[in-house]
């Protein structure tokens, strides 16, 4: 999965009311993504301009985070051996996630 063409020059993070956790990096499909500890993986990817998380099974249409509460399953990614909604996975230093297409390609 490739990153969206529009670079995130404008920060989506709004820090008026909050102090974020420590700045960290995590790996998504082998790419280092800057984020803050505790942010959801879905939100952190989105903020970095990475909107497409998978393709729909029949139409092959791009999909991204949608409900952000663990219900719709649109943002499923691999975290180790588990497929989890990335909106429910907190960012931590050293975390590695893979999009479904990436893992499929890697494992073949």
């Amino acid at each position: 999965m490739t990153q969206s063409s529009s670079p995130a020059t404008f920060s989506l993070r709004a820090d008026q009311a909050v102090r974020r956790g420590p700045a960290v990096h995590f790996l998504a499909d082998g790419v280092s993504v800057p984020a803050f500890e505790g942010e959801s993986v879905a939100a952190a990817l989105f903020a970095s301009g990475w909107r497409e998380l998978r393709r729909s099974p029949r139409d092959g249409a791009p999909r991204g985070m949608f409900c952000l509460m663990g219900s719709c399953q649109e943002c499923l990614v691999w975290v180790g051996s588990r497929k989890l909604p990335s909106c429910q996975v907190p960012v931590a230093a050293g975390l590695e996630i893979e999009t479904m297409a990436f893992r499929e390609q890697r494992i073949g």
Binding site: D15, P57, F66, C67
Partner: protein
Amino acid sequence: MAEAQTSSVDLVVIGAGPAGARAALRAQACGLDVLLVDENPDAGGQVWRPLPLGFSRAGDASPSPEAVQGDALRAEVRKSGVRCLFGHKVWNVGSGLRIDLIGPDGVVSWQPRAVLVATGTTERVLPFPGWTQPGVIGLAAATILLKSQNMLPGRRTLVAGTGPLLLAVANGILKAGGEVAAVLDLASRRDWLRTLPSLAARPDLLWQGAQWQIALRKAGVPVLYRHGIESVEAVAGGLRIRARQVDGAGAPVASASSRVFEADAVAAGHGLVPGTDVTRLLRARHRYDAARGGWIADADAEGRTSLAGVYVAGDGAGIAGAAAAGAHGEMAAVACAFDLGRLSARDHARERDRLSAQWRKPARFGRAMAGLMALKQGAVAGIPPATVVCRCEDVTRAEIDAAARDGARDVNQLKAWTRCGMGPCQGRTCSDVAGALLAAHVGSREAAGCFTGRAPLRPVSLAEVAGDYTYADIPIPKAAPL
């Protein structure tokens, strides 16, 4: 093999939002041994969702009323010593009410005498061409993004749908330094005015609503009443949104010309649908009540369902709003304590009447808001044929209509024929709209029915469920004599 341990408890409360958390606290106070479970890392539900772990409020920022209420509830749960299992998803409720959960360390099972289901709601988003584009998210999703993640959905966001979340999200975006391309409200100004009598019960919210209106006007944000999204398409650098006027039923007005907006994100939501996964899985009796959000478990005022030992409370039992949910949860807990013989008839009656009085006023307001957010038939009728309705399986409106014409009589038949609702979300995203589309063919929502509940309620891998159970553990029955 290591048989998964099943622990016993009087009551398992599923969902730690305002209804479930208050229910657990009250049940414990009545002397019940309670387990409170939630898939989120802490109590509060979606409405009082905490900041992510590791985040803290900036020193000079005054916390929102929701943050104050949520923090107070979380502190009370911690202080009470109620046993909590957070970060665990209920993926099955088995025979005899055994609750199967999956958490970071694998599967666990609990055997309660009673279950109180307080699973809240999911958001209904009426499909439009392009609603599956990345960058289009739910209104409730935008709320979570803004309030919990402290993140904007986009640099410039178009906000569309129905209900009070529209103004809340649009203002949240402005406050966080984002732009709002427009607010499209399916409701008319008059629809809002009709809610005024019940809003009188909540002058604080009335005041907040007025402030929000002023802030939007100041920022020059176009607020279009009786307008909906006609389509969203991805264009270079963002999304192009066509907005069209709708009639009182929410149907697009064919003669009106569409207005075009550019944005890089869309937040759209059309009300809330009660989460009935667990009660449907248990085969409790359900009924359709449009004003309360759709299909709900058939329950008495205290949350007793058609099944002994199964209770429902909060918005998942029928939408009445977060402010009413706490009293409703406590009412169900008190009923459960009485039914389990832990509360005398007199104490039960006294508490029930007190809680019922406490519930009435906020519920009246909550139900007025639910009325604003109720499914609009015309909006469903106006969904273009090629539009995807079931996002998991890419099933279009045309395919649903075709199945209906071919004789699919209820949503389960529709599911078997088209795969609509068969994907990993278990139909949570599409069921309400699919049911409404089918109802137009078969006569009523009751006739169209609701999806039969199936385990797993949340996706789990076979490896996680099986644990270290191997071939050697499979009991092989003696062969029948020839």
